[in-house]
Amino acid sequence: MTQGRSPGDPRQPCGSRRYPRVPRVRMILLVLLGFVLSGVGGAVSFFWPTITAAIGATGHSIQVPTPSAIPGTPSPTPVAATGSDPPFTVLLMGSDNDGKFTAAGSTSGFCCTQSMILIRVDPAAGSVTMLSIPRDLWVKLSTGGEGKVSQAFGNAGGGTTGIDAEIATVEQDFQVQVDHYVWIGLQGLINLIDEVGGIDIVASHPVMDDNYPYDVAGSTNPNAADRVAVLPGAQHMDGLEALEYVRSRHDDLSSDLGRNVRQQQVLVALRQKLSQLSLGDIDNVASALNGEVLTDVPLTQFPTLLGLTKDVGSGNIQHVFITQYSDGTEGDQDVLVPDMSAILAVVHQYFPAT
């Protein structure tokens, strides 16, 4: 059976307009294409917040400035995007990003990276290693001179420039290669944890603090203090509670070290929650993080990372802490004076030396 009418079709009105025939197969393909385009349009509209957030948060590749060289150390090399199989290293940074530092004279509004965790992900082995870098470690800064390891970020003006400076500092002092970074502000952490419905965590001890900074959650005075009491034991924390748990340090025998431990605990709990994310959640999470997270992890690698979080059992997470230092002072600052050779020995057990 043929489609359409033949020229000799007696029912064809004389003189009527002739339409070009469209072969059936082509017509079917056109219809299918229409459906595909419509479906893509629907998907794009759903993921539009994700796409716009991603454009704002990603796309910045690491630009390592010329480091202030440490004698005997190799220069950092530009990093290449990683595939899904080879191990890679991510520098996770957390910062205050409110007005208190502007008020205190910082032109950038940024102070430092209060939290820094170097993370080594080995997809093939299904393992993750987390190494907390003490923020008060006194080292050579990529921005020049010496300072606390966390200060390069603020010295360079925060933002992606500050991130580059912080990465360069970590790379030169610890002689490791940072492949990717994730920077998150205080509100970003709150938003992320709230968006995934909170985290389930064992609070290791009562976290009590009469001098906790009251600079989020509607605070109008970034220098105000607050009282915090996070009770111990298993609990379901929302974003604000989790931030209080990882940020408080005053009533902790180990001060920053203690909260380094708590920060890694929250990361593990967050990883567990993120592993429950489905495709439909990514849009909401991206919206929640809009403007509060900076990263160079390409969008294409997020599914791999999410997949990896499902594959890594909690028994395959290694927690490493730097303890090879002594207390000291520099000017009016309390600092940690590193034993770099001992520190490097520990770091290079888990992170390849450059």
């Binding site: 229409g34 385009l37 419509s38 479906g39 629907g42 998907a43 759903f46 993921f47 907390s132 995934v196 419905g197 909170g198 985290i199 389930d200 965590i201 064992v202 290791s204 001890h205 009562p206 009590m208 603090d209 009469d210 001098n211 203090a225 607050d226 009282r227 009491a229 009770l231 111990p232 034991g233 298993a234 609990q235 379901h236 005053h250 009533d251 902790d252 025998l253 180990s254 920053d256 203690g258 909260r259 380094n260 431990v261 708590r262 890694q264 709990a269 567990q272 929650k273 429950q276 994310l277 489905s278 495709l279 439909g280 959640d281 849009d283 909690s314 997470i317 290694q318 927690h319 802490f321």
Partner: protein
Amino acid sequence: MSRSRKLVTALVLLALMAGFGAGVNRYLASRDSSAFAPPKDPTQTFVKLIVPGTVYFADDGGLFALTGTKITQLQAEGGGWTQPVAIPNGAGLLAVKVTANYYSDLYQLGLNGSLEQQLSDDAGQVTVTQLGADDWLYYPAIGPDGNLYFSYDWPKGGVEDPGNGYQVDLSIWETTLGTHIDRTTIEKGEGMTQVSWANYYTGGDVSPVPLAGGGLIYADYELAYGDTGQLSTPLASAGPGTEVSQIRMDPKPLYNTAGSDGPALTQPQDDCAQPALNPAQTEIAMICTPVLDGAPSSTESDLVVATFDAATGTLGPLDRLVTGTLAASPTWSPDGTDLLYLAPEAGDGYFQLWYLQGAATATPSRPKQVTTDLDLDGSAPAWTS
């Protein structure tokens, strides 16, 4: 096909395409994880299992009572209510009301939730503006002698010693139920006895469980690293700031020995806390954190039961009855045979009530979920007959 039929066909196809696009959009939206769905009003939730008696619990700052399959609101959510405790002989409830980021107070309530009496006044005095003037009161417990035990953030360094201003640790105090509690009465010891001295900068001592023969069990906190900087083998990879808990028993004669800890019933590597004693005082249920890769897990906690001899202060082997989840805050049934505890619903982080029948027997039943869609705050429920 006529021109008009072609037109209609094209329009139908276009409509179908548009519908398909919208369908894809809605399908993706429907794929967000239900695991993150918010909890519901407890009175509107489904109770999966009937447990005997009445269970009082705190949910999202409110107080509720569960009897059979019915959940009744005693105090509305968002009120800061937590840690309900049943006063013996049906004389009512105690509960803590938290004013977030400032202080917490202890109240006595009727079994229907009516406010009977404010037992503490922990808001700072108006003449003192510093935050350290406020106080935290938590973990109320009533002893067999009818006395009240609680954790209080006093003494603390900030007020008495400005150079020590960061120290805010909970110590355990004892008083007669009904005695008014505030900073002044605590500081002056007016009707108050300090029964534990916190390890400085650890957060302090919590979860007092008074014993019939005097003394109490409680949980304290300390660094996993000892003074020597050495860790026991099971905790070999714990970070230098890792704190662990131990359950201790403080017999009465030590009460007035300032700074002394009671002997430990559990070991640091067991990281046990939240003790609950059965009425016969022969079994302790508790929560212990399993060790993973040489450090206490931050995402799992086990429900553990051990025999207990109050006379000698010894604990039997730890029997891990529930593992692989985030168990919290066990409570014995009034007859001491079964346990209620908190754990997340499968695939959902919000705590629900779970029931473990025959917990003290050699063959306890499998845990059964009692409630759904709640947002329990982690504090132990109170269970009455």
